[in-house]
């Protein structure tokens, strides 16, 4: 019985993540459109895009590693979703903890680097080097957030963190007990989502969307799927660590949408940093704030 529940969980969790992620991508595009005084895409637009991209008749693969890279990107995020507890689903979250999750979240980026390498497109290589630079930037405040969370709750297990916050009520939420860390976490989320001013590795007008430069058709479809997972993971992780998770989906959904709304809304007013400037900014501000937060917690 137990393994059947587990099997159901690990099938349904990525599926749910995909559906919620589609809605988040729709929100991202609609918010951007409204702020630019446009109408924005129709409701099913993210789904149309993905089906269209997977329905391409002819497309070129650059070789085995190119194919393998995209499988690693999509597969990496599917695995991440299995480790991310949401209301009603635990999945593998009890088997792995926050540190395992942080490792798994790196796999897609490395898969992308692998796949893009074989494309032999200079724009792709520049994009990947920038993406890994950006990862070097945001991983430091991210690790500090993990350390702070572990110090605060005395555990790195995500279901336990949720349980502690839900039993104690709003006063024990991460955002109340470690507000400085919550700010650092929010900025890190923004950088992780690669929104302006940190979209150095996408940069459509500069390096032609960087790692995605040679990705057409089904490869691009995979990346569109990954985009849904990416925004979903960022939202769910933040809510789990700082906003007490959710007792049910009615409470949970508004929280995760509110969290990702912040980067989506503020991104539009920014231009783009250079790769080095962005890195320095991330090492200066979110890292500094996170260090301050950590000091406050440990004192």
């Amino acid at each position: 019985m137990d393994w059947q529940v587990l099997l159901l969980d690990i099938v349904l969790m990525p599926l749910l993540a995909f559906i919620v992620g589609l809605l988040m991508v729709l929100m991202m595009r609609r918010v951007r459109a409204r702020l630019e005084r446009r109408i924005g895409p129709p409701f099913f637009q993210p789904l149309y895009d993905i089906i269209k991209l997977y329905g391409k008749d002819i497309q070129i693969s650059h070789g085995f590693i190119h194919d393998l890279g995209i499988i690693m990107v999509v597969g990496g995020y599917i695995t991440v979703e299995m480790f991310l507890p949401v209301p009603g689903f635990v999945g593998l979250a009890e088997k792995g903890d926050l540190i395992a999750l942080a490792y798994l979240m790196m796999v897609p980026m490395l898969g992308m680097a692998l796949g893009v390498g074989q494309c032999a497109n200079p724009n792709g290589s520049i994009g990947i080097s920038r993406a890994l630079t950006a990862m070097l930037g945001y991983d430091i405040p991210f690790v500090l957030v993990i350390v702070a969370v572990a110090a605060m709750y005395g555990t790195t297990s995500l279901p336990e963190i949720i349980a502690i916050q839900q039993q104690g009520g709003m006063a024990t939420w991460g955002v109340a007990t470690m507000p400085v860390m919550a700010v650092a976490g929010l900025i890190t989320t923004h950088v992780m989502l690669a929104k302006e001013p940190f979209e150095t590795y996408i940069a459509p007008a500069e390096i032609a969307t960087g790692p995605m430069v040679e990705m057409g058709g089904k490869f691009m479809g995979g990346l569109f799927v990954v985009q849904t997972f990416q925004v979903y993971t960022a939202g769910v992780l933040y809510v789990t660590l700082f906003l007490g998770g959710g007792e049910n989906w009615l409470v949970f959904l508004p929280k995760i949408f509110a969290v990702v709304f912040i980067p989506f809304a503020v991104t539009i007013v920014f231009p783009r940093y250079k790769a080095g400037e962005g890195l320095l900014w991330v090492w200066k501000w979110p890292t500094g704030i996170a260090l301050l937060g950590l000091a406050l917690i440990l004192m």
């Binding site: 149309y48 007008a205 058709g217």
Partner: protein, 242 residues
């Protein structure tokens, strides 16, 4: 396999089952509602696209959005006059796009040369060199006209009738002949159109012919950095130089 191919016409029918074409219809439905544009904006028509995209006319509400590279794009939008030098780049770009791919010629210049009719360096009819799905005439067409044209293309895609891209594979010899007439017998692109036609079962009666024979005769291996396809380093024989 014999040399002579017997063509058996296969009608696109449901084959008796009411669900037979459901998946194809779903994909056509989605294709018509999600179009990624690649602008080849070297002509003056490009100036009409920013208003068509931004808040005044907002193409994204129809599912149309700009993309940065040919690999990602569905529509190649050629806005305005096409010089012979430009055409080389347009063909390279077009052949990199993943099919189904569509070409739209905007402005009079792509239709008949427009005000560049007497220019020695300008291509007059774009559809001699590439399979053009739709022309939007005007000098320049207003954003309303551009969007109306795109909507007509969307209707054709949804009905499954926008398949000019197949024509490029089926009649490659014809298109290649026109390209060779313009660029010389050494013309080649990095994309292997004949190989793709074989791979994806798109060989037509005119895929291979005298022009593709000429191509094979002069084709150079691609992975050679010392001999670029075109540009400064290309080794052009004396009789070709002009």
């Amino acid at each position: 396999m014999s040399d002579k191919q017997i063509s058996i016409p296969v009608a696109a029918g449901t084959g008796g089952s009411p669900y037979a074409g459901v998946f194809d219809r779903l994909i056509d439905f989605c294709r018509a509602r999600s179009l990624f544009l690649l602008h080849y904006c070297t002509g003056c028509g490009a100036i009409e696209l920013p208003p068509a995209m931004t808040s005044r006319y907002d193409m994204e509400r129809l599912g149309i959005q700009p993309m940065a590279t040919p690999r990602q794009a569905d529509i190649l939008l050629v806005t305005g006059y096409v010089a012979t030098k430009t055409l080389k780049r347009i063909i390279l770009t077009y052949e990199q796009m993943s099919a189904p791919r569509y070409v739209i010629g905007i402005c009079s210049c792509t239709v008949n040369g427009g005000m560049y009719w007497q220019s020695y360096a300008t291509v007059k009819k774009l559809n001699e060199y590439l399979p053009v799905d739709m022309y939007i005439a005007g000098c320049m067409p207003r954003p309303e006209a551009v969007i109306t044209g795109l909507q007509q293309l969307m209707d054709r895609i949804e009905a499954g009738r926008a398949d000019a891209w197949r024509d490029y594979y089926r009649r490659y010899d014809h298109y290649l002949g026109k390209q060779q007439a313009l660029f010389g017998k050494h013309w080649q692109t990095p994309s292997d159109i004949i190989g793709e036609a074989r791979q994806f079962d798109l060989l037509g009666p005119d895929t291979l012919g005298e022009h593709t024979t000429l191509l094979e005769q002069y084709q150079q291996p691609l992975e050679m950095p010392s001999t670029p396809v075109f540009g400064h380093g290309r080794d052009v024989p004396e009789d070709e130089r002009s």
